[in-house]
Symmetry: C2
Amino acid sequence: MPIDQLSATFAALANPTRRAILARLVSGECSVSQLAEPFDMSMPAVSKHLRVLERAGLIARRHEAQWRHCRIDAAPLKAVAAWTERYRHIWEARLDRLDTYLQQIAKKKEGKHDRKPRRK
Amino acid sequence: MPIDQLSATFAALANPTRRAILARLVSGECSVSQLAEPFDMSMPAVSKHLRVLERAGLIARRHEAQWRHCRIDAAPLKAVAAWTERYRHIWEARLDRLDTYLQQIAKKKEGKHDRKPRRK
């Protein structure tokens, strides 16, 4: 079964090294060796991550003389944001419920402090 | 290496069946057999998907007599939305550039139409 675009994007993002590569590319295009620098891994391992990101359409690579440059393509992330947005009302409703609950507790505490202390 | 929470969430979402299960749970809690109904797959296959979603914290299951019920937990999706948000300026800048380009083309076309036709 051919993998759908959104599944390919999510699979590519399911790795902290690949997410760190994308974070690095936010500040602009850079070479593959610059990208590999902060990671304690071999160049083939980094290249493998770049291939996954490229296949998911999250980065584009271009060759210039002997240099390979990468840049981010955020279009698939726009699709992730749109997909996630459908669930926003659920987590916001949950936070609202939590907020109401905390307000109720605060009111109860206030009520206790307002009462005059009983004389012994 | 233990998998980080965000990677587990992305990995769980990298499958159209699992995303369809979450979409179904938006309208409320339901039983495992109700969840399995629309899918052309065995119950063990559906259960496997549910386990992945549960391990990622995207659903919670509860047993009631012989019934197993599932409900969505959107908290990990809130983290996905927050992560994706960091890249919004990139896709928006890209759309702005596209918009400017299309406006330029439209202006050029308008200019052509405004010119009086030459007599032959």
